[in-house]
Amino acid sequence: MWRWLHPYAKPEATYHLLQKLLPWFVALTLVTLVTGVIWGLAFAPGDYQQGDSYRIIFLHVPSAIFSMGAYMGMAIMGAIALIWQIKTAEWSIPAIAPVGAALTVVALLTGAIWGKPMWGTWWVWDARLTSELILLFLYVGVMALYFAFDDARTGAKAAAILSLVGVINLPIIHFSVEWWNTLHQGATITKFERPSIATSMLIPLLICLAGFAFLTVSLVMMRLKNEILRHELHRPWAQQRLEQD
């Protein structure tokens, strides 16, 4: 029994590493997100065309970028899980997917809120919004597949394969939707493409981007910690850990 415990030592090490790093990431998230959002919403100058409604970009752009980033991260973890059979990588797929899906939902909601004053309607088949919606479907597929299996390892493997298939398809989907959009919408200029941005707006946007990056990583770390604990419950170290907390 004890003999084959040693390959399982890894999740424990990962857990302790996460335990150590997490407070730092949470602190960084709080600092950057609070600074960026307050700066962006209260102090950055208004847009001469869009007035104050443009300020939603301080939430929309970072959430859209990291919804894609999280998918990339999930696919990379999937590849690691499939090639090296590392359990922590397998568990990080269910850890990342809901966070990515939540970011996608935030991007869609903020996009709709932005759309209302700009287009006069909550939903327009804009290329970016449509891509975001399809990304949400891809996340839903990965999560549905993961939870369809009784055996978590098989579920993780299936989800890993699907996320790799998805990541290869993502650029094709993105390109086809862009192309479809120009085909059907002709001259309408999408609000999401601005040739340049004033420095006074760029700085808070960059801070917000950093804030969302730290937020994404922190959330994933928290979820991964839980996943590790959940799967290692029968191991002595996990039980000790639970008793301590």
Binding site: F137, V140, K157, V177
Partner: protein, 227 residues
């Protein structure tokens, strides 16, 4: 006694599956009838005006084709999985990613190719102009191999899931989107007498890419499922 070449094995697997399919004709026929019925619903729901029908025909036919291709997918590997044939496929000396292409080819022959043959009827039902006919047939010919390849991924991943057919649709539909976009655009352009080479080339490229890479995912999915 000599070892078989990979090509002989491939042809043998293809022939065996075609023989089995011939014993269960309704499996291949039902999705086609479904497609025909779905297409019939649109004129009934929208009105028989040829103008509007011709305008939305490419979209209707392709959406119906995508849905029809999902119908038979659950069966693609399931019988082989349940009776142990899939294990034997894994134990052939040839790589699994190669042998599964025979199964994908059978699926295409039974679901993709009939669509191409059926396309004139569909075009006729929806008043698609003459130029649209051949474009529709061409997009189906170029696009359906990718449907079979992607479908095989969905089928392989959900083998262990009981009643996985809704799950298969959920994971596959987003992946079908690029095919739908380029295929319908090609048919629309053709109906208006515009050039369609670009869209057809992209469609062909997507198919080639999908048919080349999908077997790897299918093989990984089957290995995972028989485990």
């Amino acid at each position: 006694m000599s070892q078989l070449s990979s090509r002989q094995i491939w042809v043998t697997l293809l022939k065996r599956d075609l023989r089995i399919a011939a014993r269960r004709r309704s499996d291949a026929l039902n999705p086609l009838l479904f497609l025909l019925m779905v297409v019939t619903l649109f004129p009934l729901g929208i009105g028989p005006g040829p103008d509007i029908l011709a305008r939305i025909a490419p979209g209707i036919i392709w959406v119906a084709a995508l849905l029809a291709s999902l119908l038979g997918l659950e069966r693609l590997f399931r019988d082989d999985f349940q009776d142990g044939t899939l294990e034997q496929l894994c134990l052939l000396p040839q790589p699994l990613a190669f042998t599964v292409t025979a199964k994908m080819a059978v699926h295409w022959l039974l679901s993709g190719l009939p669509l191409v043959i059926l396309s004139p009827v569909l075009a006729l039902l929806l008043s698609l102009p003459l130029q649209g006919w051949w474009a529709l047939a061409l997009t189906l010919l170029l696009g359906t191999p990718a449907l079979s390849a992607l479908g095989a991924i969905g089928a392989a991943l959900t083998l262990q899931v009981q009643r996985g057919s809704s799950l298969v649709s959920l994971i596959l539909i987003p992946l079908f989107i690029p095919l739908l976009i380029f295929a319908t655009a090609a048919v629309e352009n053709a109906s208006m007498g515009l050039a369609v080479h670009g869209q057809l080339a992209i469609l062909a490229a997507i198919s080639v890419l999908t048919v080349t890479l999908a077997p790897l995912a299918v093989a990984a999915g089957i290995r995972m499922s028989v485990n």
